[in-house]
Structures are given as structure tokens and as C-alpha cells.
């Protein structure tokens, strides 16, 4: 079978809520929207530690991890997840997220390796568009 006739890969995204806050509505809305866009969304639920998230991302071989953080602990949790992924040899998994995150932190987080931050008010379509631009092309070469 030739490369040209291969069907496109199914994009797989892990959606997780690290930390202690219990506000999972946003994460659920995003999970639903990504599923509606045709992606397979592994949803792990509340109170995940960075290591739990990284372990799940590896076992599920996802393209990206989306984190929803409402607790204000984003400056700790995002880098911790990125480190945990690297520690398990999965540094190529993109990390994006959303939640209550002040403007001044967004740039800092991107410097720390977070691929994208979607702020309150961002539409789910923006997330889908970002995935299409940043993840879909990777599958076309691999």
C-alpha cells in the first residue's frame, strides 16, 4: 500500500485537570468540542498530578496535552507537566492550556515551553484551528 493512499491519522488529545481546584466545566466543554471536531479525546478527570498526566500521555500516545487550571497554580503546574513528560521521554508531546491566567504570565509560560494558552473568552474553534495548524502537519510528514 502506497503512502499517498494512507488515511490520515486520528489526532489524539489528552485533556486533564491538574491540581486541586474542582472546576471541571471548562475542561469538559473543551473535551466535547475537540471530540466534535473529530479528535479522540482522552479525558482523565480531576486532581491529576503532573506525573499522572505524563504517564497517561505516554500510554495513550497522544499528540498533545490540554490542561485546564483555575487555581492560580499555573506557573507551577504547566512547567511540572512539561518536565514530567520530558522525564518519561515524551518531550515531543505539545502542551497547551487555558483557565484564569493573567496576561503577564502567558508570555512567561510560552517561554517555559507551553505551546499555546487560551484565555477565558476564547472560542473552542480557536483551539481546533490551533490544533489543525500545529498538529495536523506533523502527521503528514510522519
Amino acid at each position: 500500500m502506497t503512502e499517498q493512499t494512507l488515511r490520515p491519522r486520528k489526532i489524539r488529545i489528552l485533556v486533564a485537570k491538574p491540581g486541586l481546584d474542582g472546576h471541571d466545566r471548562g475542561a469538559k466543554v473543551v473535551a466535547r468540542a475537540l471530540s466534535d471536531a473529530g479528535y479522540e479525546v482522552v479525558y482523565t478527570g480531576l486532581h491529576q498530578t503532573p506525573d499522572m498526566i505524563a504517564a497517561a500521555a505516554l500510554q495513550e500516545s497522544v499528540d498533545a496535552v490540554g490542561l485546564s487550571i483555575m487555581s492560580g497554580a499555573h506557573m507551577t503546574l504547566f512547567p511540572a507537566v512539561i518536565e514530567a513528560l520530558k522525564g518519561r521521554g515524551a518531550g515531543d508531546v505539545l502542551v497547551f492550556g487555558g483557565g484564569i491566567i493573567p496576561d503577564e504570565d502567558v508570555e512567561l509560560l510560552q517561554k517555559l515551553g507551553v505551546s499555546a494558552i487560551f484565555k477565558p473568552g476564547a472560542s473552542t474553534q480557536e483551539i481546533v484551528d490551533w490544533i489543525e495548524r500545529n498538529i495536523r502537519p506533523k502527521h503528514e510528514v510522519a
Binding site: M1, K10, R32, G45, A55, E60, S61
Partner: protein, 327 residues
């Protein structure tokens, strides 16, 4: 031309899987699911190393507590020192093709245990309660050296019974209060059960459900295999050791019995039949899709009513079967 060939890549992957490498194994699972070249070649190499794990299928009504039962079983097997792989299947949306795979939520406490590997799969349009790739993904876990592989199906209706052909022991989970005729587990589902679980058995009506199930089992022919009924409250682990013990008794009665050694048991035959058929279908399905794509002119002629669909189908079949190798 320095890039490694498919066969070299497959050999490298197989070696990593046999060494228990999580990343390589997870990637192979994805390649199997996405139908990538090389994945089948790796499986060919891994096949001789499979067949050791005890493959347990868990099926039942939506909301019966399948994931919670799986979680409790993982806990029990881990306490016995066994390594556990899980393949959890959820439905894909027939409209978007997407899926929300949420079975891990109930199994969170095992997330960072290296002795547990949980993989979520979406059905991707496959009927029967499993995805096309389920048996291959279970085989990868087997080759990785997991002692027990648990396959959790989607919440089933009345004919999602594929799990029978994949698992050594099929466990059907139900709950009290689904109606006096036990609607959801009549016919097909009851017939596939090797072990029946009445979960949430602290609820009202549990005795009646057990009684109804017992009656239904009594209506089977005399020579039918025994089916044990176990009560559980999976959320607190109650009844799970009884469940594992019932599974173990079934296992030892079945293909692992000394007298079954080296013989073609009905279950082995059924499993082999399903595996071979699935791969034949798969190869043909791809060939059909390719042929349809490359012969768009035929389809257009049918669309314009210049050709009837029967003749168009004949012509496509000619084209497909004349290809020396379908792959």
C-alpha cells in the same frame, strides 16, 4: 536510501516491545489503530511471544460499573503481584468521528504504577463493542509481558458480543433494577457470559436480579457450561476477590486445563477464526476503498445513471482481485 526499511523498523519496534518499552509499545498501538505500514510486520514478529497473558473481557450495560469493576480487579491483581494491561473501548461518534475516552477516570489510582498499562481506544465505526485494533493492542500488552490483560467493551446493548472471540473469560456486568425481564441482558449478552456479576448489589432488588439470572441460566441446555453469578460493590471492592476466583475457576476449566493443551478447543477455534477473518476484512476493505477512489469515473457514471451499480461493483471486484497482492 539510508533510511531503515519497513522490516528493519518493525524488528526494532518488536525488540523494544519485548523489552517492555512503554513509549515504543504505545506508538505501535497507535500505528495499529491508524493502519500504518510496518505495524502488521511488527505484529508478525511479536505473535510467537503472545498467548501467555490471561485475557479477561468485561462487558455489560452502560452505567453498570464496568470501569469500576476493572479498577477493582487491577487493584486485586496488583496485590497478587501480577502486572495488568487494560484496553478500554469507548464509542466514536458516527457523526464527527471523534470520541471522548473517559474510562481512565475510574482507574486514576493506578496511573503512575509501572505495573499497570491502560490504553483507551475508540470504536472508529467498528460494530460489536470493540475497535478493529482491540485484539492487536491486547496482543502488544501480552508481548510486553503483562500477566493479565483486561478488555473493557463499550456499554453494550444486545448484540455487542465480539469480546467473546477475544477473551478467555467473558464477564458480563449488570446491576439490579433494570426491569423485571432483565431486558438488557436477555438473548445474546446472557449467552456469552462465562461469569455474571451483579454489581451495585447493595441496592434494592439485588436478590431478585440474582434469582432472575439463576432462573435464566437454568433454562439453558443441560450440557451448557456452568456460569457463576457473583455479587459485587465495586466502588468499595466488595465481591471482587470472589469475581477473580470465579474467573480463575473458569480459566482452569477452559483452555488452560491440562487436557486442553495442544488441542483446538471451541474457544481457540472461535478466536482464531475471528482474528483471521478480521484481517482479511481489513485488507479487503482497504483495497475496496483504494479501488473506489481510483475508479471515481465508475461512481460518477452510476451517479448519472449511465451505469447500473451491479455492473459497477462487478468491474471493481475484477480490478481488486486482479492485483497480485492486495496489500
Amino acid at each position: 536510501m539510508a533510511a531503515p526499511s519497513l522490516d528493519e523498523r518493525a524488528a526494532a519496534t518488536a525488540k523494544l516491545v519485548l523489552a517492555g518499552d512503554v513509549r515504543a509499545s504505545a506508538r505501535l498501538m497507535r500505528d495499529l489503530d491508524d493502519n500504518r505500514p510496518g505495524a502488521v510486520e511488527a505484529m508478525r514478529l511479536l505473535y510467537p511471544h503472545t498467548g501467555r497473558a490471561y485475557v479477561l473481557g468485561i462487558t455489560g450495560n452502560p452505567g453498570a460499573g464496568k470501569s469500576t469493576v476493572v479498577d477493582a480487579l487491577i487493584d486485586l491483581y496488583r496485590k497478587q503481584g501480577k502486572r495488568v494491561g487494560v484496553v478500554a473501548v469507548d464509542p466514536s461518534s458516527p457523526f464527527s468521528g471523534g470520541a471522548i475516552l473517559g474510562d481512565r477516570i475510574r482507574m486514576q489510582r493506578h496511573a503512575t504504577d509501572d505495573g499497570v498499562f491502560i490504553r483507551s481506544l475508540a470504536t472508529r465505526g467498528h460494530l460489536g463493542g470493540l475497535s478493529r485494533s482491540t485484539s492487536d493492542v491486547a496482543a502488544v500488552l501480552d508481548a510486553m509481558g503483562f500477566d493479565v490483560v483486561i478488555i473493557e467493551t463499550v456499554g453494550v446493548g444486545q448484540d455487542e458480543v465480539d469480546v467473546v472471540s477475544q477473551a478467555e473469560t467473558a464477564v458480563v456486568v449488570t446491576v439490579p433494577g433494570l426491569g423485571d425481564e432483565i431486558q438488557a441482558i436477555k438473548a445474546g449478552i446472557l449467552e456469552i457470559a462465562d461469569v455474571l456479576v451483579v454489581n451495585k448489589s447493595d441496592r434494592e432488588g439485588a436478590d431478585r436480579t440474582v434469582r432472575d439470572l439463576t432462573h435464566m441460566l437454568e433454562l439453558r441446555p443441560h450440557e451448557a457450561e456452568p456460569v457463576e453469578i457473583v455479587r459485587s460493590v465495586a466502588t468499595n471492592g466488595k465481591g471482587i476477590d470472589e469475581l477473580a476466583a470465579a474467573c480463575e475457576r473458569h480459566r482452569l476449566r477452559g483452555d488452560r486445563a491440562p487436557e486442553a493443551e495442544g488441542t483446538v478447543t471451541p474457544r481457540r477455534r472461535r478466536r482464531a477464526f475471528a482474528q483471521v477473518r478480521e484481517h482479511v476484512f481489513d485488507t479487503l476493505r482497504r483495497a475496496i476503498d483504494e479501488a473506489l477512489e481510483s475508479r471515481g469515473d465508475l461512481v460518477d457514471r452510476v451517479a448519472l445513471r449511465g451505469l447500473d451499480p451491479y455492473s459497477a461493483a462487478d468491474e471493481l471486484i475484477q480490478a481488486i482481485t486482479s492485483v497480485p497482492s492486495l496489500r
